[in-house]
Assembly symmetry: C2
Homo-oligomer: 172 residues x 2
Amino acid sequence: LPKSSKSPSPTTVDEPPEPEPFTSDEFAAWRGMLRVHSTVFRALDRQLQAEHGFGVDAYGVMITLVTSPTRQLPIGSLGEQRNLSPSGISRSVDRLTRAGLVTRTTNPDDGRSLLVGLTPHGLVRLREAQVTHHRVVRETLLARLDERDLKRLGRMWEKAMPGAVTSPAWPL
Amino acid sequence: LPKSSKSPSPTTVDEPPEPEPFTSDEFAAWRGMLRVHSTVFRALDRQLQAEHGFGVDAYGVMITLVTSPTRQLPIGSLGEQRNLSPSGISRSVDRLTRAGLVTRTTNPDDGRSLLVGLTPHGLVRLREAQVTHHRVVRETLLARLDERDLKRLGRMWEKAMPGAVTSPAWPL
DNA sequence: CAAGATTGAGAGGTCAATCTTC
DNA sequence: GAAGATTGACCTCTCAATCTTG
């Protein structure tokens, strides 16, 4: 990601140059996003784990479920929205089930399909965790920008990937 | 992350409301970033793996090394810049060493400290991979924004986390 | 003993193979 | 046989314990 610096090395190394380098604007936009995302995401994961005993992964699954009008989703769709492989979502739901946060019930209409639903306890725990989520993301990112910045960001994401902000059926 | 929707459920469930919800601007800025980052990052990882046989993790370590004027860094600093735990960077360097991309040499001044350096072969492989990196990130993100967007993004990252764009000593 | 680095155990992910239901 | 979901083998990260050097 960074530009290569010509080191005043004594050896005459015949070194390959950086190919098709980013412009400084491209570089700033991309590296900044990587770093800010990494920092905020890790802080969020740590804080959720510390205060509620589950991480961003479990939080993401539950928040996806609560978004559904019926509070339940087929495990396949759930996996797609979380950007997880079939095995990944299967294991994740497994852990959440053991923790009593979600239930898996066979779809009565199709014995192959499984419906994953939030338990009442899961909903309570999720609501508690949302306080942490909002606080951490505000502290580490949102509160440091003004309203105009936020609006611009939202527009840019939507411009870069239509549906990124609005579509409910989207990974993450 | 999404807003809860009041479902017209027949049961009178006494449900906890979403606490301190995000404004719609906050929501768009944050969810958009999560989704765009996830999509671009995964595409990049897959493409690097497919074309060069190593993923974003290995790429990140090598690009961090090449940034250093001497092309080598103490393994500890390297881990911090990559946002990896001591064990994480240790294992990562282990893999890269076996692949012949980096070397680990004991620091002559302090027998406890290890210096990790890019091999000539590693430098060549990195330069090749950079082409993929630039192409994928441009295709999936940068090219969909105009120059003004990019400038604004860079300014916003720097505003949210001073040093995010400029500082070399920073995770990721 | 303190700092730097590695190793063992365990969490959470992927792909390929398998099992079940349509 | 195809679709939906799980399981086995393996990979990579983290934390805690350990080894080594100052």
